[in-house]
């Protein structure tokens, strides 16, 4: 732990041990304190990765918005979509808070029109198309979170795994709605 003892504002005062063992809860207790320690590079690396996750959640929120207002879904399906969108908003809010707490600037969302183009929403013709798009995104998101856990600092491992869990839950419901068979083998994601 180089330098840490020389810096009165170092995170030594906030950490019980060496290294980056700060929990998300602990991070939120120290909003405003600048982290200029040996692990500043790790912190800014986390900010970068968390910001990519925020972008992912922005896109997911937009996708459900586009789906819900497409006129292609039965009311009961809209309801499910809105519930899932609520989960994505929850993820976004947590991630935004984490990035701000680390001293970063959360990534901004694009316009709904841009997301519609990016996701090729114009090609959606019926409810099945919409469900397929949503399934692809949720599956991708579950896998994305699982794959970035090892690159994140340990403070964020659990929350990223929780988010992967939510996306996997969404994917399972969507796959079931589409009549997809249950995967035979274990380790369905990741």
């Amino acid at each position: 732990m180089p330098d840490i003892t020389r810096n009165p504002f170092s995170r030594r005062h906030l950490l019980t041990g060496a290294g980056r063992t700060l929990s998300l809860a602990a991070v939120s207790l120290i909003v405003g304190s600048k982290m200029k320690t040996a692990s500043a590079a790790d912190v800014s690396q986390d900010v970068k990765i968390l910001n990519a996750a925020i972008s992912l959640e922005h896109e997911g929120i937009a996708a459900y918005q586009i789906a819900a207002t497409s006129g292609l879904l039965q009311p009961a399906v809209v309801e499910i979509g809105v519930a899932f969108q609520g989960h994505h908003k929850g993820h976004r809010d947590l991630l935004v808070k984490a990035v701000e707490t680390l001293g970063g600037k959360p990534s901004a969302e694009k316009s709904l029109d841009e997301y519609a183009k990016d996701l090729n929403a114009a090609s959606l013709k019926n409810q099945t198309d919409v469900l397929r798009l949503a399934l692809g995104l949720e599956r991708g998101a579950a896998n994305a979170y699982l794959g970035l856990i090892p690159s994140l600092g340990p403070d964020f491992h659990q929350v990223a795994a929780q988010m992967a869990g939510d996306e996997a839950f969404h994917a399972a419901i969507l796959a079931n709605a589409l009549g997809e068979p249950i995967p035979k083998d274990a380790l369905i994601f990741g």
Binding site: E59, G136, A144
Partner: protein, 157 residues
């Protein structure tokens, strides 16, 4: 021998499509051979089978598709033509500084290092996603490469 290889390739494709990779021993040797020889031009570079490329495409959709598309910038930059391109060179994507200044051309070996651990390869990148298994990286890279290849450069099939 040839039939045996074909069976192995099919086996690999089936494994890939179910996204379970329990056994490293099931990688077709052809892929390994290509990996080693494809930097040179002297050997026909078609040792990566169409099955492997197709498997790479499925894996791409499942693992990369949360963030990437071939023709649209999303969370990450669009990917068509990325093989053989300089890193950080999609004009209308806003890269991290790390990738903008990353002086690397995407080839089999650079993509392999990147996908194994992007933040170690290009410190400060915003892509944290890792593809842990070598055989998964191999087929995804083969798929990306196939999108850059012309029919001739892939050799006759």
């Amino acid at each position: 021998m040839k039939r045996q290889l074909n069976i192995m390739l099919c086996c690999c494709a089936a494994l890939l499509s179910s996204s379970v990779f329990a056994n490293d021993a099931k990688i077709p040797t052809a892929a390994t051979a290509t990996q080693l020889i494809s930097e040179g031009d002297s050997v026909a570079p078609n040792a990566v089978s169409d099955d492997q490329i197709a498997a790479g495409g499925r894996l791409y959709k499942q693992r990369c598709g949360g963030c990437h598309s071939l023709d649209r910038n999303r969370i990450g930059p669009r990917h068509r033509g990325v093989y053989g391109r300089k890193a950080g060179s999609v004009g209308d994507f806003s890269y991290s500084e790390a990738l903008q200044n990353f002086d690397v051309v995407w080839t089999e070996s650079t993509l392999d290092k990147w996908l194994e651990n992007p933040t170690a390869f290009a410190n400060g990148t915003s892509m944290g996603f890792r593809l842990r298994k070598a055989e998964e990286r191999k087929v995804v890279i083969a798929y990306l490469k196939s999108l850059s290849d012309t029919a001739e450069s892939r050799g006759k099939k």
